[in-house]
């Protein structure tokens, strides 16, 4: 079942009066529930722009072509207002960014519960969810530490906990291992895979890193604002194996 579906996705950015950039030129994409998908491509390919549209950070352009369509869990998001998109990001999506981007004056737990706060969950419920999320990423004992007291890998794990605390339908990660060394990158990747495999968390990653691409079920390759290949990743055999297991189990 598709959790995220997009058609006719276009985006042109106006840098100045005469200077525009056509970042996305009409893209069709589908993300299945439970998939872990990588979006890869050279600089300027439009992969970040696609991520921003899938993540409802920007709305797709409605002019110069057929009407864009963007469905999250079957609901059309394409023409929502900024406020409406913000609410959906708060409640149904999780974000992980390259630069960890934790609030420096808040503790690890407070950073995680910030996401609960924005989703309208407060008090004891938020605290419990925050503690549980930190435990899932193995940082329950660091809940009271500020980002300056955590390593890069730990900070990114806090960011992942923040992305997961509201049990979102989809997690979007923009170069989540970009600022980490290879050991920490592997840790973070393993964590994301664990959430995908064990909890069925749908994850979409933008990455330059081929190791990350290989760990995913599928790689979408982009060039010049279009999808070149909706692809397969090294993780596909696992998907195929699951499909076979289901096929074998079904006849009663």
């Amino acid at each position: 079942m598709a959790i995220l579906e997009g058609r006719n996705l276009r985006k042109t950015y106006r840098l100045s009066r005469k200077n525009t950039v056509e970042a996305l030129k009409g893209v069709e994409v589908m993300i299945e529930k439970g998939e872990m998908v990588a979006i890869m491509g050279p600089s300027g390919s439009g992969k970040s722009t696609l991520m921003h549209i899938l993540g409802l950070l920007h709305a797709p352009d409605a002019n110069h072509g057929p009407a864009p369509e963007l469905y999250l869990g079957g609901e059309n998001m394409a023409s929502l207002s900024d406020n409406a998109r913000t609410k959906i990001r708060a409640r149904r999506m999780g974000f992980v960014f390259q630069d960890f981007n934790l609030v420096p004056t808040l503790t690890a737990l407070e950073n995680v519960t910030l996401a609960c706060d924005y989703a309208g969950i407060g008090g004891k419920q938020a605290k419990e969810a925050g503690v549980a999320a930190l435990a899932l990423v193995g940082l329950a004992d660091r809940a009271g530490h500020k980002p300056s007291e955590l390593s890069g890998g730990e900070q990114q794990r806090v960011a992942i906990a923040r992305a997961l605390v509201n049990k979102p339908e989809i997690v979007l990660a923009d170069e989540p291992t970009g600022n980490l060394d290879s050991e920490r990158s592997a840790e973070v990747l393993a964590l994301l895979r664990q959430f995908n495999r064990e909890h069925g968390q749908t994850i979409v990653l933008v990455t330059h890193d081929s190791d990350v691409g290989e760990a995913c079920d599928r790689v979408i390759r982009m060039r010049d604002g279009r999808i070149r290949d909706q692809g397969q990743g090294a993780g596909t055999p696992v998907m195929a194996a699951r499909a076979v297991a289901v096929a074998v189990a079904v006849p009663a």
């Binding site: 921003h52 993540g55 950070l57 920007h58 900024d82 406020n83 913000t86 609410k87 990001r89 708060a90 409640r91 999506m93 999780g94 974000f95 960014f97 630069d99 981007n101 609030v103 420096p104 004056t105 808040l106 407070e110 910030l114 996401a115 924005y118 989703a119 923040r162 992305a163």
Partner: protein, 389 residues
């Protein structure tokens, strides 16, 4: 509180901004208290003069100046609308009037107790001792105002010296925050005898001491406009000048309103400067936190939520500055009053209203100053903000 931690990010910058507000509020509190004191004095005077007519010698003012005669009582009493006329003798307590005093100078006031026959509406309350009585005439006894009693360290039963003459203290008034606080009330005869001593011997010799008056207080009949009584007196009695409550309000009230406006204006100006400092600080704070604002927006903070965080933070700057400014203003006004007490000059009246409104104003000013940076922050595109270096 989490928001206090945000202020702690740049302690020196926050500290300087808060100091700016603190100084502005301190100025508002101090000058506001001065204005309160002036208002209280003026109101006291206005209330006192509103239902009577004061008669002085031409060239005199408020019963101080030239000499009148107690025989004028008989001249004025029969006039239309006049009920009771009370002669009085007033003089400065000390000839040494150094510098410009903010309050009223200390006075000796003499009149026959109960000569007003109950017409006087300004009621005096006694902290200790008793009021003067008609039977005190001929004795050297005195009732002191609260500030004067404190200055002379006098209690009921003590003997004090007024213009070189010993007087026994029989009563001390409660504080009124107006002129009676630094006056000494004596029987008419005692005042007349003291007054004569202030005149050159040659002149004194020509006068009948016990007919001397420096002012007459004329109480109108019930329901009669004091202005009409004043006009009557002006028309029938020569060599005198009259003053009513309306005259007092026009002359003194106008001057003090101007002074009030200047004082409070200075206070407000200091605060505007403080407010500009808050705008600058918050604008810098928002710029520094651009990426953080971007991430908050990305993970689901609404524009309103971002605005609220920043406005509350700048309101807290205002609140802290306001409380510190109030504290500092309180110290200054208390020390000022303590220092002035020796010379009966109480300059400041820091009321609860002044205190509360100063802090409230600082908080609102802080919030308002944060509004434009907050609006700007809330309009940032999350993606652009996230990438901000």
């Amino acid at each position: 509180m989490r928001l206090l931690r945000d202020l702690g990010r740049r302690k020196i910058r926050s500290g300087l901004t808060i100091t700016g507000i603190m100084i502005g509020i301190m100025a508002l509190v101090v000058f506001g208290s001065m204005a309160n004191k002036i208002d209280a004095l003026v109101k006291g005077g206005s209330d006192y003069y509103k239902d009577k007519v004061t008669v002085s010698a031409k060239g005199g003012y408020m019963g101080l100046g030239g000499v009148l005669s107690t025989r004028m009582v008989a001249q004025i009493t029969p006039l239309d609308g006049v009920d009771v006329v009370v002669p009085g003798v007033s003089m400065l307590l000390s000839d040494d009037v150094s510098g410009v005093s903010m309050g009223t100078p200390s006075m000796i006031n003499g009149s026959v107790a109960n000569a007003d026959q109950g017409r006087e509406t300004f009621v005096m309350h006694y902290a200790t001792g008793r009021a003067l009585l008609p039977s005190d005439e001929g004795k050297n006894v005195v009732v002191l105002g609260s500030d004067l009693a404190r200055q002379k360290k006098a209690k009921v039963g003590d003997t004090i010296s007024l213009r070189g003459v010993d007087f026994k203290v029989v009563g001390i008034l409660e504080a009124t925050l107006t002129a009676p606080d630094n006056s000494a009330m004596v029987p008419l005869v005692a005042a007349q005898e003291l007054y004569v001593k202030t005149l050159p011997t040659l002149i004194a010799g020509e006068l009948n001491t016990y007919e001397l008056a420096t002012g007459l207080v004329v109480y109108p009949k019930a329901g009669v406009d004091p202005e009409k009584v004043a006009d009557e007196i002006d028309a029938h009695v020569s060599g005198i000048t009259t003053m009513t409550g309306k005259d007092f309000d026009q002359q003194i009230g106008a001057a003090t309103s101007m002074l009030n406006a200047i004082l409070v204006g200075i206070g407000l100006l200091s605060l505007v400067i403080g407010g500009l400092s808050v705008i600058n600080t918050m604008a810098m704070s928002v710029a520094e936190r651009t990426r953080e604002i971007g991430i908050k927006r990305a993970i689901g903070a609404s524009r309103w939520r971002i605005r609220r965080e920043i406005v509350i933070e700048s309101a807290i700057i205002g609140l802290i500055g306001g409380l510190l400014g109030l504290g500092l203003g309180f110290v200054i006004t208390t020390m000022g009053n303590d220092a002035g007490r020796e010379s009966s000059t109480i300059l400041f009246d820091l009321t609860f209203g002044t205190a509360f409104s100063s802090v409230a104003f600082a908080t609102v000013l802080g919030a308002a100053a944060g509004f434009v940076p907050a609006w700007h922050a809330s309009r940032l595109d999350p993606v652009t903000a996230l990438r901000y270096e």
